[in-house]
């Protein structure tokens, strides 16, 4: 388990890496980073990173093109809450 000091640096590092990866890396890279963030932290930046991906790359906002990354990031961060509550704090 990460010590508090390590966790203090891990969260901003993962968040910044995921934000940069949204611009430059293949789509699975921010997805992995978002999952790692959500496993350990109640990371408010996860939904924002998912939204950023859709703002950058979504062809059109419509019923045929739903904002999948935004929805996926919200599902990941909230679905992992029971796990965080069980094993953390």
């Amino acid at each position: 388990m990460l010590s508090d000091v390590a966790a203090q640096y891990a969260r901003p590092t993962l968040g910044i890496a995921a934000g940069i990866a949204a611009f430059l890396a293949p789509p699975w890279v921010p997805l992995v980073l978002v999952i790692l963030l959500s496993l350990r932290f109640r990371a408010w930046e996860v939904p924002l990173i998912g939204f950023l991906m859709d703002l950058l790359w979504l062809p059109q906002l419509s019923l045929q093109h739903p904002p999948l990354y935004t929805i996926l990031s919200l599902v990941i961060v909230w679905a992992l809450e029971p796990l965080r509550r069980e094993f953390l704090v």
């Binding site: 109640r42 998912g50 979504l58 062809p59 059109q60």
Partner: protein, 262 residues
């Protein structure tokens, strides 16, 4: 001990609060972007296009500076460049005559064009998009409209404009993952299923004689070529054969595309 437990509960509450606020903010921003007709998206993409241009020029500067080259590599590169320079000087004399001829030919090509278009730079990488899209540095200010076709220099249609702002636009690739495209190959209609990375596959009758390199055209691209056959897989026990198609150009290295009306 009690104080430590209390502090942990306070941290947990503020964590939940932050997460709820972020969730609500994302929903509100999404609605605001929809209602405003994509103004938020336009701003973010304009900023991103600017950042990509800066990072591309930084990358070029660092590569050209030779910081990461060893001494031996630099000496070898220097010798090769000197040789290249001598060769270019020799060709320079012949270039002048070719330029003059080219100018005359361009005037003829312009007359022959059925629908004029515009050449625009590709401002984003194609790898990061999960939707098979990329950004170009041209928009409504350049006469581009949603639905316009996008071509590479070799005349292959790679996608169409799906979203647009004043000076940038989003191109949806024909072969985006899970996208389908009706096309013609060897006088037969086929349905290409996008696999991402400018690749697609289709299932066609075994009776058709298909060769690697055959060109596939599509009415959705105004009758223009969209791909070539890269591989054919025929199982003698099956009534069908699988073809794998690809766009000849590597989109990730293309710097300019041509946009015209369908």
């Amino acid at each position: 001990m009690r104080a430590a437990v209390q502090m942990r509960f306070q941290k947990k509450d503020s964590g939940m609060r932050g997460l709820w606020l972020a969730t609500i903010a994302v929903v509100v921003l999404l609605l605001a972007d929809t209602v405003s007709g994509g103004m938020l998206r336009a701003g973010v993409r304009a900023g991103a296009a600017y950042l990509w241009r800066i990072s591309a020029s930084l990358e070029t500067s660092i590569a050209q500076s030779g910081i990461f080259s060893s001494r031996r590599q630099l000496a070898a590169a220097n010798a090769a460049l000197q040789e290249q320079l001598d060769s270019y000087r020799a060709q320079e004399a012949a270039q002048a005559a070719l330029v003059s001829q080219n100018q005359e030919l361009q005037a003829l090509v312009h007359l022959a064009q059925k629908s004029p278009g515009v050449t625009v730079p590709v401002v984003s990488s194609t790898a990061p998009s999960p939707y098979g899209t990329f950004l170009i540095g041209g928009g409504s200010a350049d006469g581009i409209a949603v639905g316009d076709l996008v071509f590479t220099a070799d005349g292959f249609a790679v996608g169409r404009i799906s979203d647009m702002q004043k000076s940038s636009a989003v191109v949806s690739e024909f072969f985006a993952p899970a996208a389908t495209l009706e096309a013609m190959l060897a006088n037969a209609t086929i349905t290409l299923e996008g696999q991402g990375g400018e690749n697609a596959r289709a299932q066609i009758s075994r009776a058709l004689q298909i060769r690697v390199g055959d060109v596939i055209v599509s009415a959705a691209a105004g009758g223009s070529p969209v791909a070539v056959v890269g591989k054919v897989e025929a199982d003698p026990a099956s009534a069908f054969q699988e073809i794998y198609a690809r766009v000849p150009s590597n989109i990730s290295t293309v710097r300019y595309v041509y946009v015209r009306k369908p």
